[in-house]
Amino acid sequence: MTMPSRTEMNRSEAGQAEAGASQPSQGLSETSAEERAALVEAVRDFADARLAPFANQRDADHEFPVETLCEAGQLGLGAICVREDVGGSGLSRLDAIAIYEELARGDIAVATYISIHNMVVGMIDAEGTDEQRRRWLPQLTDMSELASYCLTEPGAGSDAAAVATTAVRDGDDYVLTGTKQFISGAGTSAVYVVMARTGLTDDGGVDPAQRGSRGMTAFVVPASAPGLSFGAEEQKMGWHAQPTRAVVLDGVRVPASDRLGEEGEGFGIAMRGLNGGRLGIAAASIGGAQFALERTVAYVKERATFGQPLATRQHVQFELADMETELQAARALLERAAAKLDAKAPDAPVACAMAKRFATDAGFRVADQALQLHGGYGYLHEYGIERVVRDLRVHRILEGSNEMMRMIVGRAVLGER
């Protein structure tokens, strides 16, 4: 294994990334290169002990390791960038991407669930009132309770403003009705942040001023809310170690005090949350691909064809060089985006979209090439490579498809909003 050299690489990169960040974001502590290395080492120890050895079996058994997530919560992994007064770890996005990468080296499906949980917890932290933060966050930050993000619907994916779930005001409550699709953690999570349409006219139509993204509002819904139910567990290509279900809201009453932000602010809240979510998914792509690359380096040294180890073939060396280069480029782009998000730079969403598109494409290509270099063994479940390929495939689709990422970047290039 090439682990020691990876540690060195990470350390030097962490130092450079820090130097490249224009300024730390408010309320978050600055992390020195030494501290970053200690964070990464601690998360690696956790991933090596609690994730990597079980990743294949959890994939085969479709096991969502809730107890392991609870332990991750004890380490502070449930709220990496959340303020400390509610149990968060108070770290920066730059720290977070290094952490997600290490988690994904152990198990992509678990790492990405942790990223999604962090996104939801971060939304309540950033957008919630103090009262809401104190009510919902302490048990989410330590992961004794889990959270899910509910935006996508059967008829609203990339076109997120087409959300059809409605929230009708009734006295001090809202009544939510609709279906949310592809919800990670659904059925297990204790808390659901739901985007729904407000600003409806009395006859059930949409107020013309509230159409599209303008009429969306975010709500925090507990699993215990009457009228909330879940679809069957989806049978997916990958991400078997986390459940995906539909969330059905059938007249779910939500007190107005559980509305996140004001009416009409939901779309902005959902999109701001996704900036960080995209960094997490991108980092997990790099981590998963890094695992596959490390396995491949070991394999090509051992495996001989025509009397020579594969590693002596120039073709193999070139492939490994490209894989390494792609991952380093992805890491550099991702660190740039994380630094911009930490600095609250106006172009941070574009940088996040660019990094998400590049890192998830690169990660998938590297994993696929790792499988190719493993030959038939790469296709066997036992070797763990095909799992990485299956797990990383969806990173190009979710948290905003890579086509949508291109739209965001393309608009910015053209100077449009």
Partner: protein, 270 residues
């Protein structure tokens, strides 16, 4: 109550460990330096005691991590702080490079006397030097009782109690405080340091102590401050362990027993 846990940075047992044939010392650049696991377990046991003590109102327990190690091994002490030690003491002095067990014991004893501890907890042996005698040496120098190789540990206000395995059975031993104990790998698994603990570690006191800082204590122990002029043990030669050779495979054709007996007799093993 103040408990000092002796921790030790060692070459990672999962990596290649290299002995420099020129100096006879471990080549510390050849592998990652990590906290010896046995000392992590000792620390875990003591931190748990401190947490339980605080929770039950039994009184505050101050946990200090102490090591004598090269100057560049501070990250391991930071890990001890991240796990939950309140402060750390790092004895670092170029004059201590290659110190033997007796010299190490003298310097640690001096530092322990300076720190003042109700209880000193160590692992029962390190994965690099594997001397296994340090706790007893410290007890001798400090004139304290030693309870070694404990597999369980129970700390009260004025005593420490634990069980130790012997060839004949299990002993339960108790020592009045202050005392020195060593623990085995039966101690609980060390915790993963929390992210917040790692970030907080830098704010905790980490005192670097040079040999000169210990002059009074060393004098009190009746030992010399600097021994470079008169080393007690000198490395005469160091050689690389020879590569393992393939063993002899005996296929049983009815005479295997006799041949194995002859093999052992030839090597004076029987």
């Amino acid at each position: 109550m103040k408990i000092v846990v002796l921790v030790k940075p060692v070459p990672d047992t999962y990596g290649d460990r290299v002995l420099s044939l020129e100096t006879g010392l471990a080549d510390r650049a050849a592998s990652e330096t990590v906290l010896d696991e046995i000392t992590e377990r000792a620390l875990e046991a003591v931190i748990r005691h401190a947490e339980e003590s605080a929770k039950s109102g039994a009184g505050e327990v101050e946990v200090v991590a102490m090591t004598m190690a090269p100057a560049d091994s501070q990250s391991t002490l930071r890990k001890a702080l991240a796990m939950g030690a309140a402060s750390a003491v790092h004895i670092a002095d170029e004059r201590l490079a290659g110190a033997d067990l007796v010299r190490t014991a003298e310097v640690l004893a001096a530092a322990l006397r300076r720190a003042g501890a109700d209880l000193i907890v160590a692992g029962n042996g390190s994965t690099d030097g594997s001397g296994g005698v340090m706790p007893s040496m410290l007890a001798e120098l400090l004139e304290l009782p030693a309870a070694t190789r404990l597999e369980t540990i129970e700390i009260t206000a004025d005593a420490v109690r634990g069980t130790r395995e012997t060839d004949g059975g299990t002993m339960t031993v108790t020592a009045a405080l202050p005392a020195v104990v060593s623990v085995t790998e039966r101690m609980p698994d060390p915790r993963f340091p929390a992210l917040k603990g790692i970030m907080g570690a830098k704010k905790k006191p980490l005192e670097v102590v040079a040999l000169d800082d210990l002059s009074a204590e060393l004098e009190g122990l009746g030992v010399a401050l600097d021994e470079t002029a008169s080393a007690r043990s000198i490395m005469v030669a160091a050689t690389q362990r020879p590569a393992r050779e393939a063993g002899e495979i005996i296929t049983d054709d009815g005479t295997a027993g006799e041949r194995i007996a002859a093999f052992l007799a030839d090597r004076r093993l029987a």
